[in-house]
């Protein structure tokens, strides 16, 4: 082995703590990168593979009623490859517990085999042509603990129809099973899909020879022009009472799944970059200090004929070794972690098709990324090797000029400081670079430990804010059909209610230039007590008589700001598009809606005095009282929703928590390394102090004071850095289901402070050991490097 390499290996051995801690950072970075990229990728692949197997539709249209022949006619629209009519209807399901409201969506399955949105049988049998059989969507089947042979009884048009459960199925339409945009959450016991024969659905729901739902396949060549096909369909279906034409991109389950995949990708990249960046900073600080310490050795190398490049390479190899060791171990660890995570995720996401193949490209990317970061950090950290002059380096470094420091000039302050603190302050100000490194390190540590603490608390904060300040209602009631606002009084008579307000919740298409999106718009009276609207600075807002509010995430998707005009269109036939002004962008942490005065909604719908539901303030449990009211489809308790939400968030919290926990490792790595580097540089100084008669304790106290002062500075700097990181996180992981607000509780600052202090204290222990074991005579006598 080359002697320089040998020297390198031995010096790594002498500072293994540092080497290991940086390598661990690299390992974590690569494990996160490989595993989460792999999860995102496999999840996406699995989903699309599933779509292919089941022939997932590109467009879904909902109409009032359309004859079978008219469905076939749609094939004449250019680009449409295949169409299929279905009957779809949401009906109540009778269950044992009379207080439980369960709804099912009946979906008809055509007799032919090669249908669109084919069912994926997980267990049991297909329904075939048996009128009394049904196949139940997996989540609902599992949620209600069904078994084959069970009889379920949907309540259709005033009659119950017993159906035998014969199959447990999956459908590409309902990977993420949600009743509609407003529910936000899957309720596995409360809502499910049951598949029945076409004949059964048509006869029981009154659609003989006709349908109310159309699924459409668009040929590959026309995928780019899907919007114009949607427009044509809207025109074509107008006379059949079209209420929505939804392309796959906006399809509920698909869009939620894609958001999930995307946010996984974003998280994995962001976390990896943070980790690598921090590792790079530590490496380059460590190397730059090492080069300073090795000044004389570098002089010798150059004097005996090593070229600048050879010497530079000697130091860069340190970084490369970290990169190589880290990525090698990281790749090994990431293999089982990825497989486990992929399985967990895909199962959790109800994708029955599982792709767990390993894509070696991620290893290559990961290793390349890591190694390039390390090489860059190595080059940056050891670049000063080039400018070391051998003749100069051979002489002992001239002592630093002992100038008076700035603070000394302020006599009133300086005179009040005790002598030992004066020494500390002087020492810091004379080695500014070292002090700055330490402060930066601690600032980074503080910021990085803030993240997991923030993440752990934010969900509760978010739910409390959403369901306490932004939404104040206790219950949300949905009607089966739009009713007159007069029913508010009736409901009030039926149960114990303090305040009731009508609402209209209606999907409307909102368009800004070429950007358009179907948004669930909530309309309430402008003096509503159910909502506390506020803008991003927390200023309370009142609903204007004209115009609308948009939630932040929708504003971003549509690229509008307060004051812009958008075109709003309902899906009811014969109603014109209206231009409305976006008055404010409002805070909304769960879901993504637009809001307007109910009178504004009446103008859009061209109908007065109706409501699709109501919001209620009450202290009592009103579910039982309203259970059997015919026109009430659902009564949802906001408290239950909050709990359901928390449950759903578990997975997100767990996966983010794990990632963020690594922040702690990172924090410790930073403090440990920077402190160790700074002690190693000062061994000579400590030795001199010992020779002068300082006790170990006294030296340690001095160092502790120096570090304490810099820790304080670092933490103060860390607060804005942490805030900035959280802000960045806020925008990068928000989806249409949740928006993470940068609300940082005071306790977050305190916990991060305590964690940082613990890290510093552990690193201080290493300092103490060094000072304790220091053989100061040796250090002074042998000026070897």
């Amino acid at each position: 082995m080359k002697k320089l390499d040998l020297r390198l290996l031995r010096s790594i051995k002498n500072s293994k703590g540092q080497f290991i801690s940086i390598t661990v950072t690299i390992i974590v970075a690569i494990v996160i990168f490989v595993s989460f990229s792999m999860v995102a990728d496999k999840l996406r692949n699995s989903i699309f593979r599933y779509y292919e197997i089941t022939n997932f539709s590109d467009i879904t249209a909902r109409v009032s009623k359309i004859p079978a022949s008219a469905v076939e006619d749609l094939l004449s629209i250019e680009g449409i490859e295949d169409v299929q009519g279905r009957v779809v209807a949401d009906v109540p399901l009778r269950v044992e517990d009379p207080d439980e409201k369960v709804r099912v969506r009946i979906v008809s399955v055509p007799p032919e085999d090669d249908s669109i949105n084919r069912l994926y049988t997980i267990a049991g049998e297909e329904i075939g042509d048996s009128l009394n059989s049904t196949a139940v969507i997996q989540q609902f089947f599992v949620g209600r603990e069904m078994s084959f042979g069970d009889i379920i009884t949907p309540y259709i048009g005033g009659k119950t129809y017993p159906l035998e459960v014969v199959g447990e199925v999956g459908s590409p339409e309902y990977i993420y099973l949600m009743e509609n945009e407003q529910t936000l959450l899957p309720e596995e016991r409360g809502f499910g899909i049951i598949y029945v024969t076409e004949e059964f659905a048509q006869s029981t729901l009154g659609f003989q020879g006709s349908y109310n739902d159309i699924v459409i396949k668009v040929s590959d060549a026309y995928q780019g022009r899907i919007d114009s096909i949607v427009d044509q369909l809207e025109d074509e279906l107008e006379r059949y009472g079209v209420s929505s034409v939804v392309k796959r991109e906006d399809q509920l389950s698909h869009s939620v799944m894609m958001q999930e995949v995307d946010s996984l990708g974003v998280m994995s990249t962001a976390m990896t970059v943070v980790f690598l960046f921090v590792a790079a900073i530590i490496i380059s600080i460590m190397l730059s200090r090492l080069v300073r310490k090795d000044r004389m050795a570098i002089g010798v190398m150059k004097a005996i004929g090593y070229t600048d490049k050879q010497v530079l390479l000697h130091y860069v190899k340190y970084a490369v070794l970290i990169g190589v060791a880290g990525s090698f171990i990281g790749v090994l660890i990431s293999i089982p972690v990825s497989v486990a995570l992929v399985k967990l995720y895909i199962q959790y996401m109800n994708v029955p098709v599982l792709d767990t193949s390993m894509d070696p490209m991620y290893f290559v990317y990961g290793i390349t990324l890591t190694t390039s970061f390390c090489v860059a950090a190595g080059l940056f950290g050891s670049r000063s090797v080039m400018s070391i002059d051998p003749a100069e380096a051979m002489r002992p470094e001239a002592p630093k000029a002992g100038k008076r420091i700035f603070l000394e000039k302020i006599k009133s302050v300086w005179s009040k400081i005790s002598f030992s603190w004066k020494m500390v302050i002087r020492s810091i100000s004379r080695t500014k670079r070292r002090a700055v490194f330490l402060a930066i390190g601690i600032a980074l540590t503080y910021a990085i430990t803030m993240l997991p603490v923030y993440m752990a608390t934010i969900w509760n904060t978010l739910l409390d804010k959403q369901y306490g300040e932004l939404q104040k209602m206790d219950y949300s009631i949905d009607f089966a059909v739009p009713l007159s606002t007069n029913v508010m009084l009736d409901i009030k008579q039926l149960t114990d209610i303090d305040v009731i307000e009508p609402k209209i919740e209606m999907p409307l298409q909102v368009k800004n230039g070429w950007r358009k999106k179907t948004i669930s718009v909530v309309a309430v009276p402008n003096d509503t007590v159910m909502y506390g609207f506020m803008n991003s600075t927390g200023t309370p807002l009142e609903l204007p008589e004209e115009g609308l509010f948009l939630s932040d995430i929708l504003a971003r998707i549509l690229n509008v700001k307060a004051g812009d005009f958008v075109e709003v269109k309902g899906f009811l036939p014969g109603i014109d598009e209206k231009e409305l002004q976006v008055k404010w962008i409002v805070e909304q942490y769960l879901g993504a809606n637009a809001y307007m005065d109910i009178r504004q909604m009446y103008r859009i719908l061209e109908e007065d005095g109706i409501a699709t539901g109501a919001y209620v303030l009450t202290d009592s449990d009103i579910t039982a009282d309203l259970k059997d009211i015919k026109n009430i489809r659902a009564v949802q308790s906001v408290g239950d929703m909050q709990e359901a939400m928390l449950e759903y968030m578990d997975m997100i919290i767990a996966s983010m928590g794990t990632m963020m926990l690594f922040g702690g490792i990172l924090g410790f790595a930073i403090v440990y390394n920077i402190t160790t580097v700074s002690i190693n540089e000062r061994l000579m100084e400590f030795s001199s102090l010992r020779v002068m008669g300082f006790e170990k304790k006294e030296i340690f106290r001095m160092i502790t004071r120096e570090n304490a002062l810099m820790t304080a500075v670092g933490i103060i700097l860390g607060i804005p850095v942490g805030y900035g990181m959280i802000k960045a996180l806020e925008t990068s992981i928000s989806t249409e289901i949740y928006t993470i607000p940068a609300i940082i509780l005071p306790s977050t600052y305190v916990i991060a402070l305590i964690a940082t202090l613990i890290f510093v204290a552990i690193a201080q222990l290493a300092t103490y050991r060094k000072i304790h074991n220091l053989n100061f005579m040796d250090a002074l006598k042998n000026r070897v490097s």
Binding site: K3, R7, K302, A303, I304, G305, T307, V784, S785
Partner: protein, 236 residues
């Protein structure tokens, strides 16, 4: 006797800028060094002898003047050629030995030889410097004198023609210092290497073939020693 010139310095000057002051370290020095001779450059500290040595060794460049090594002017050399000059033509011995602490004695020597074309047998050189049985020790396990022997072995094993020694006994006690000087003389005899020592220690001049005295950056005297004495007879 007509001696063959190994190295020739012509009109060497070196100025340092120190703040607003210009310090003259070496002032118009002319010097010839002959093949195989043992030269001692004497002078008090600050006389410019270290600077001169560094210039001869290709570690520093003069402000003015030329340095010829075997007829080739090293002053025009770029960084790379200068590095190769140090690698192949010169061996350095420093006052503070400057060994690599994480390499053993032998490895410290190998560090230098593995980049040379034509290195000597390391074990033999280790025997010559008297460290045959301690070559696997780390510097921290060696005395100052032993460390300096390693440094000398490092310079010699490269098989360079010229050995430049900057106060090689400066950090050593008298007896150890004498042993080191004797070793340098032996190497001068055995391997026919040209040895240049700079020191402020006047008696060391007695062992040299030639003594060059410097003061304030200038050569004040060049004296040929007709009868150099054995280093063991030097006393200070």
């Amino acid at each position: 006797m007509a001696q063959e010139i190994l190295m020739k310095a012509e009109n060497i000057s070196k100025l340092y800028q120190m703040g607003e002051l210009e310090v003259v370290a070496v002032k118009k020095v002319d010097l010839e060094i002959y093949k195989g001779e043992f030269v001692v450059i004497l002078g008090p500290s600050g006389s410019g002898k270290s600077t001169l040595l560094n210039i001869l060794g290709g570690m520093d460049t003069p402000t003015d003047g030329n340095v010829f090594m075997e007829g080739e002017n090293i002053i025009g050399f770029n960084e790379k050629k200068l590095t190769y000059y140090r690698r192949d033509k010169v061996g350095f011995v420093f006052q503070f030995y400057n060994l690599m602490g994480t390499l053993t004695a032998k490895e410290n020597v190998e560090l230098a030889t593995e980049i040379c074309q034509d290195a000597l047998d390391i074990d033999e050189v280790m025997d010559t410097v008297g460290l045959g049985d301690r070559k696997d020790h780390f510097p921290a396990q060696l005395s100052g004198g032993e460390q300096q022997r390693v440094a000398i072995a490092r310079a010699v094993a490269k098989n360079a023609d010229l050995l430049l020694c900057d106060e090689p006994t400066g950090a050593l006690d008298f007896e150890t210092g004498i042993k080191i000087l004797k070793l340098l003389k032996d190497i001068n005899d055995k391997y026919k290497k040209t040895v240049v020592i700079i020191t402020h220690n006047v008696p060391i001049g007695e062992m040299a073939d030639r003594v060059i005295r410097m003061r304030s950056g200038e050569i004040t005297e060049i004296k040929v020693n007709e009868n150099p004495i054995d280093p063991e007879r030097i006393v200070w």
